[in-house]
């Protein structure tokens, strides 16, 4: 299992590296429209062919991977940080802080994830520039996705706060801040790491769903969401199986994440 996990990490690193080298691997760029070769088949020039607008599919896939694989971890880091702040505060301080934070967590977790995301996304302007749409999409994921990690971190913090070494440290006169930074946080680091890794695939899938619904990253900037939305034209896809490349890549990436850390299936 350990070797499988390492292989998955290496594969993910390889995919991310190629996404970072998109400019070099696919110099055509993601937005350049080659009007003389729309919907072209794979060739030495265009490894994955072109779309109906004559854009290089490989370039769009690589740039889209760059967007999704860079910003989903950023959103996951934001959600984990917010979740850590809320969960650890609730679990460590207890009392009314715990009660009120737990209520807020319940509030966030009571709404089905996609309904929540859709409602808050609709509150913000819909016709925005592509870069703004990227910011809005992933910032929303990060800002709204904190409650799941917070709930887990709250119970972990409560558990650790009641451990013998914590009671002993308190009995020896260790201050609250020192207890938090020297005893609680180091012991919560593995839980934090798991929450971070678990949030990434959830956010990738959420962005894909939002993209499918036309509420994710705006064209012409590619992301896995709007690349997958291109599969809606089933007749075209059936005749051109290479168009399934974004789906295959998404599957590979998600499988890698599943191997790296087992998913909490009901989290979102």
């Amino acid at each position: 299992m350990k070797s499988l996990r390492r292989a998955a990490m290496a594969l993910l690193a390889g995919i991310y590296l190629s996404a970072l080298l998109a400019g070099w691997l696919a110099p055509a760029g993601y937005a350049r429209q080659l009007r003389e070769s729309p919907a072209a088949k794979p060739s030495a020039h265009f490894w994955l062919g072109t779309d109906e607008l004559g854009r290089d599919s490989l370039a769009r896939l690589l740039y889209g991977s760059r967007v999704s694989l860079s910003l989903a971890p950023a959103a996951a880091a934001l959600a984990t940080l917010l979740g850590a702040a809320a969960g650890i505060s609730a679990g460590y301080w207890g009392g009314w802080i715990d009660t009120s934070l737990a209520r807020v967590m319940d509030l966030f977790l009571s709404v089905p994830w996609l309904f929540f995301l859709l409602s808050v996304r609709a509150v913000l302007p819909l016709n925005v520039r592509p870069l703004e749409s990227v910011g809005i999409t992933f910032l929303l994921l990060g800002l709204l996705g904190w409650a799941g990690p917070a709930r887990v971190l709250r119970s972990a913090a409560r558990e650790i706060a009641g451990e013998d070494f914590m009671i002993q440290a308190r009995a020896r006169g260790c201050g609250r801040l020192r207890l938090l930074t020297h005893h609680l946080l180091p012991n919560l680091a593995p839980v934090l790491a798991v929450q971070f890794w678990m949030s990434i695939p959830i956010f990738i899938l959420s962005e894909a769903n939002l993209g499918f619904l036309g509420l994710g990253v705006a064209e012409p900037l590619p992301s896995w969401g709007n690349l997958l939305a291109g599969l809606q034209n089933l007749d075209v896809v059936m005749g051109c199986p290479w168009r399934l490349a974004p789906l295959v890549l998404l599957l590979v990436v998600m499988a890698c994440f599943h191997l790296i850390v087992p998913m909490e299936d009901f989290s979102k």
Binding site: L107, W113, L126, L205, N209, M238, L250, A255, H258
Partner: protein, 290 residues
């Protein structure tokens, strides 16, 4: 027990009410809120537009007052008029809710039955089933629900509601299977189960008395969560399978920025998810061994 249930029910209601208030505040402060379409009509003079704005401003009484007024109207079944659809919100919801309820219900039932049966078979030492069902569950968990909905388009023979139910089942199945497999696997290797097997207890009795019943409380705890997952999946599924349910309505409301309608739908779905969680909790408490 009774006090706990009343407390849980009150918590659900308060959570929904608080959620509604936060949503109303968000809507009130969203860009473009309160802008009247007539303001963009070239036939209206500057003076008319100024008066339209004044009338709109006069009808606003602060978020809390408006929210309380909305709640009092909602208690009589009046949820207001949808700006995007120009129809009463209550009528729109009443029209669409049954379709979502039917597809989510059928999907949940199918997903749970499939997940539980395969988890049971896998737990009862059927390695081939374990590997195949595990691989299928992992594969399905890697796909967004929208892609699953698209695959139903390839299948082609199902109508919108049936396709939506099938996709929701595919979303629910892997989650139920993996959770049930983990719990049943643990129980199946417990000493009392091995003893029962050694004593020649029949498969039916073994499954019911020694596997399903002890695991029921833990599985029931998941029922409420799975309702929330099913309703969440309903949005892309109903949009792509062309099933006229609440998910599709929510998506249309989002595209039209019909925020009050969207908030009403979200609150209704949260209430359904909250109440199903509560119902699962009641059944769990009733069936849990004392």
């Amino acid at each position: 027990m009774r006090a706990r249930l009343i407390h849980s029910f009150t918590t659900v209601i308060l959570t929904v009410l608080l959620g509604g208030f936060i949503a109303a505040t968000l809507v009130r402060h969203s860009p473009g809120f309160g802008v009247d379409e007539r303001e963009f009509d070239a036939r209206y003079s500057q003076d008319s537009i100024r008066r339209i704005r004044q009338e709109a401003k006069a009808s606003e009484h602060g978020v809390l007052a408006d929210y309380l007024r909305f709640l009092s109207r909602a208690s009589t079944g009046d949820l207001g008029i949808s700006a995007g659809f120009r129809r009463p919100v209550a009528a729109l919801i009443a029209e669409r809710f049954p379709a979502t309820l039917a597809s989510a219900g059928a999907g949940l039932g199918l997903g749970w039955v499939l997940g539980m049966l395969l988890a049971l078979a896998a737990a009862l030492s059927r390695p081939a089933i374990d590997v195949c069902a595990g691989a299928l569950a992992a594969f399905l968990l890697c796909l967004p629900s929208s892609v699953l909905a698209l695959s139903m388009g390839l299948a082609g023979r199902l109508d919108g509601n049936q396709a939506a139910a099938a996709v929701i089942a595919l979303v629910i199945f892997p989650r139920v299977f993996r959770y049930a497999r983990a719990i049943l696997g643990r129980v199946a290797n417990a000493p009392h189960v091995l003893m029962a097997r050694a004593r020649g207890v029949g498969t039916r009795r073994l499954v019911w008395a020694h596997l399903v019943r002890p695991c029921a409380p833990a599985m029931l705890a998941l029922l409420g969560v799975s309702v929330s997952v099913a309703f969440g999946a309903a949005i892309p599924v109903e949009v792509l399978c062309d099933s006229p349910g609440l998910g599709q309505l929510a998506w249309q409301a989002a595209l039209k920025r019909d925020l009050p309608l969207l908030v009403d739908i979200t609150l209704l779905v949260s209430l359904v998810a909250g109440v199903s969680g509560l119902a699962a909790e009641i059944v769990r408490s009733a069936t849990a061994p004392s």
